[in-house]
């Protein structure tokens, strides 16, 4: 007993010829259906070329348009010829000109010998199936589809909508339960004969003729009715992409296909010479009885669809440019922004590097140049430290930095002296943790020792900048994690607050902290604030600062001028 093959062919006839000869060489008779769209000038030489093979027959040609009845009609005719002409056939395998047998035909025959009564056809009830990409499930059956989806899309859609509005519901003929599944099946002679001899065949065919994609429903539904032993899976490996188009295999998939142990795979790219040469070589090995294992291929294709639909988070490039609404975050990883810390503590940056698992940059948005970690003039991804290049597009700058350092946590500083609107790029980023000691930037003016009246305007301006970004940080709609202390508040319990700031950045880091960075010299800062106030500059954001709050331990070291940066 053997397997008979029906081949549906509509292009690349030279490949079809190769495939037919391969099946025949393996002992399988073949009935070929060639789409009537193929011109006679191509068809006739094809028939002639296969004239020397008595086990190859040709069936009546139908016009096969995707989604239409022609494919089923062609399959039915070819089945009849196959069953009538080759009594040795016990199983019938439906294949196409792009279906490649991956294992020796003997493997398949041996496998079917072990399952003599089993029909292999994917057949899923429409009630539970989430099978189709197009969203039409039961409507595939209950509506009429006289228009081609490929050629007359507008008519197709309009007619579907019209029928929906008119509540058209065709009656499914006597006792059939609609099932959907892959077009490529392998049925037993018995089941197939019953489908062909079905006493209600006329009514059934009339019904399916107007249904949608009958090649995925006709045999799937009827075999449910007639089969004795049905396994709902296809022996042909067919994978569809996210839009329901079949995946194509190329030469570089050779190993993957070989290891899959599948009997047949589609679609094979017609110019994949290496695949054709390898798989169509007749082998004399003793039959291999391993079961198909398409897991690796499934994984590869699932990954490909994910890449297309989801992409790599935090990446912006020529073919991925997500809108703000489309993604949760525009950056690739978590980072912390410290505001005011470097003004209040000496050597804060090296200390931070020892305390947190993070890359510690300086003021990334400093006016002179980008202060990358370790004072690099050029950074990962060949990022320039030029302030102009950075300010040309701060959003891209930040996104690039995070993408180039993906996998590591980043920290940087920010303050009113920096590029004023740069904060807009992280204030709404859920990957950002922003910890702020407001008013601390004033220490830079305090330590400069310059005359207050000279600095007055400058301070007023920076104050405005601070007010602006604090307002944004405090906004409830901000998606970043934000914690703000006033300078005065922070000083009241700086060890505790430092711990909670670190914990916010990296949970647990605060508890693990074993030393505090040194405070800058604050002697006289209270008087400085008082003087500012007298000049009309009330520093509300510093908080309720009292001279005594500063650390007594620091006093020993003074007096010395301290200038941050």
């Amino acid at each position: 007993m053997t397997v008979g093959v029906i081949m549906l062919v509509h292009e690349n006839l030279h490949r079809a010829e190769q495939l037919a000869r391969h099946w025949v060489a393996g002992g399988c008779p073949v009935v070929i259906h060639v789409d009537s769209n193929v011109p006679d000038t191509t068809f006739k030489p094809f028939v002639a070329a296969l004239g020397d093979e008595p086990k190859v027959k040709f069936s009546t040609r139908h016009r096969c348009e995707w989604g239409m009845w022609g494919l089923v009609a062609a399959t039915l005719d070819a089945s009849q010829i196959l069953l009538d002409n080759f009594p040795e056939v016990r199983h019938v395998y439906l294949a196409s000109g792009a279906c490649m047998p991956l294992r020796p035909v003997q493997d398949l025959t041996a496998y079917l010998d072990r399952h003599p009564d089993t029909d292999f056809i994917e057949s899923v009830s429409t009630a539970e199936a989430n099978w189709a990409v197009d969203g039409l499930e039961i409507e595939r059956f209950t509506l009429r589809f006289p228009f081609s989806w490929r050629k007359h899309r507008l008519l197709f859609d309009a007619y579907v909508n019209l029928q929906r509005r008119l509540r058209v519901k065709r009656k499914i003929p006597n006792g059939l339960i609609p099932h959907i599944g892959s077009q490529w099946w392998c049925l037993t002679r018995e089941t197939l004969s019953q489908i062909l001899r079905n006493p209600n065949r006329k009514a059934t065919d009339r019904f399916f003729r107007r249904s949608w994609i009958p090649d995925e429903t006709y045999f799937q539904t009827l075999s449910r009715r007639f089969a004795r032993n049905l396994e709902s899976r296809s022996l042909t490996l067919t994978k569809f992409d996210y839009r329901g188009r079949p995946h194509v295999f190329y030469d570089d998939h050779l190993r993957l296909l070989q290891r899959s142990n599948c009997f047949v795979a589609r679609k094979i790219w017609p110019r994949a010479d290496k695949l054709f040469d390898t798989f169509l070589r007749t082998s004399n090995d003793s039959p291999n009885t391993t079961e198909p294992q398409p897991d690796k291929i499934n994984r590869l294709l699932a990954k490909a669809s994910e890449r297309r639909l989801k992409g790599r988070p935090g990446l912006a490039m020529q073919s991925r440019y997500p809108s703000r609404a489309a993604v949760r975050s525009q950056t690739a990883g978590h980072y912390a922004v410290f505001v005011g810390f470097s003004d209040l503590f000496e050597e804060f940056q090296p200390w931070l590097g020892q305390t947190l698992e993070t890359i510690t940059h300086g003021h990334l948005f400093a006016p002179e140049r980008v202060e990358f970690a370790n004072d690099a003039t050029v950074y990962k991804g060949a990022m320039s430290d030029s302030a102009q290049v950075r300010d040309y597009n701060c959003g891209c700058f930040l996104r690039n930095l995070m993408w180039n350092s993906r996998g590591t946590h980043q920290s940087f500083h920010y303050r009113p002296f920096d590029t004023p609107k740069a904060y807009l790029n992280f204030v709404n980023d859920p990957h950002a943790t922003i910890v702020i000691i407001s008013g601390a930037w004033l220490l830079r003016y305090f330590h400069s020792g310059a005359d207050i009246s000279e600095m007055r305007e400058d301070i007023a301006e920076k104050q405005k900048v601070e007010r602006m970004y604090l307002r944004a940080f405090e906004d409830n709609t901000s998606k970043a994690q934000v914690r703000i202390w006033t300078l005065a508040d922070f000083l009241t319990d700086r060890v505790d607050y430092m711990r909670s700031a670190l914990d916010l950045v990296q949970p647990g880091a605060g508890q693990a902290m074993h030393s505090m960075p040194n405070l800058v010299d604050l002697t006289g800062f209270g008087a400085f604030l008082e003087a500012l106030k007298n000049q009309g500059l009330y520093q509300k954001r510093v908080g309720d600062y009292k001279e005594d709050d500063s650390a007594p331990a620091q006093r020993a070291a003074r007096p010395r001028p301290y200038i941050v940066n």
Binding site: R243, A304, R308, K310, Q318, S319, A382, Y392
Partner: protein, 336 residues
């Protein structure tokens, strides 16, 4: 997009087509073998001048990818470029007498030729120093890509320009004809590109790379555009607006996904930064035939004379397309 805007774009497209027709009078066939173009053939279009030294490798590379026919416009070469081209059996050559600048840097000539010969074909437009890299290009020919694009109903394919440069001074290495330029210029910048969306044409405007980092560090806005759509299933009604950066109708510029996923894309490796550049820069400055009066070449000239190099400690050494994919410069999309 409003009706008015879309009508405006239609007018621009019509104007450009007329312009191409007018400029086509400057084209004189040297060797026309376009009769040998078969249906489904992959076509390559290129405008060039005095590029003889590059051509042997250029041909080797693109024939290898599976380009079937080369349609070349020679803009007054003096070095034997035209003769070389006319000798190639798979090439049609036109001689363009006009000024490169006045033909909008060759776009008008090519728009005309594409309209005439590329209708219904996949058409690749590149400069002689641009080399297309696409997903799986080391194991699949260009036709595998275009077949797949056809079945996926994708009409245009993005390939960003990637400036490649050597380590050290450009003059240090002598480029020999026939040599793979990326044996020398094998370094590139992997992650310093800025992207902005052009609301009218719907394309992404990408800048950055070594030119922005070194030559335009003080004026990044002037840095050259790197976004390109060089591979298009051509239709008579299409026109390139500005080099291959922009194309109309504007749907063809939508080569990127904005809902979070990645569309497939490739790269154009740019072999501009070789020892041949300084001669070219001098020559092009003299001719004054380039974009914005050769602003770019002025800068090259200035910088080439100084000791500044393009290479830096974070430059990436080119290995293959997979590396570009991992770095996030191009994408396989859903092609597996």
């Amino acid at each position: 997009m409003g009706l008015a805007e879309s009508y405006r774009l239609r007018l621009i497209r019509k104007r450009l087509r007329l312009r191409a027709l007018r400029k086509s009078r400057e084209l004189h066939p040297v060797q026309n073998r376009t009769k040998s173009i078969t249906p489904g053939a992959q076509l390559l279009f290129c405008t060039l001048r005095d590029e003889l030294v590059r051509l042997p490798y250029f041909y080797e590379y693109y024939r290898n990818l599976g380009v079937d026919h080369f349609l070349m416009v020679d803009n007054g070469s003096q070095d034997g470029t035209r003769e070389f081209l006319a000798d190639q059996p798979d090439t049609s050559v036109w001689h363009a007498k006009g000024l490169y600048r006045k033909a909008r840097f060759g776009v008008d000539w090519l728009n005309f030729l594409q309209r005439k010969y590329a209708h219904g074909h996949w058409s690749l437009v590149v400069d002689p120093d641009e080399f297309l890299v696409f997903p799986y290009c080391d194991s699949r020919p260009l036709s595998a890509l275009t077949d797949w694009l056809d079945t996926s109903e994708i009409r245009s394919f993005s390939a960003m320009l990637l400036d490649m440069y050597p380590k050290g001074a450009l003059e240090k290495f002598q480029y020999k004809s026939g040599q793979n330029p990326f044996e020398v210029a094998k370094w590139f910048d992997s992650g310093n590109y800025t992207i902005e969306k052009n609301p009218l044409y719907g394309n992404l405007w990408i800048q950055g790379g070594p030119r922005a980092r070194v030559y335009f560090a003080d004026a990044p806005k002037q840095a050259p555009a790197l976004n390109k759509v060089p591979l298009v299933k051509w239709n008579k009604s299409y026109v390139y607006v500005s080099s291959t950066h922009l194309i109309l109708p504007r749907g063809l510029n939508r080569v990127y996904e904005s809902a979070g996923g990645e569309k497939p894309s490739g790269m154009l490796l740019h072999a501009k930064f070789l020892n041949t550049l300084s001669d070219k820069a001098n020559e092009e400055l003299r001719r004054n035939q380039h974009y914005a009066h050769g602003r770019e070449y002025q800068r090259y000239n200035k910088k080439l004379n100084s000791k500044e190099h393009l290479w830096c400690s974070w430059s990436e050494e080119y290995i293959n397309w997979r590396q570009l994919e991992v770095l996030g410069l191009m994408s396989k999309g859903s092609w597996a």
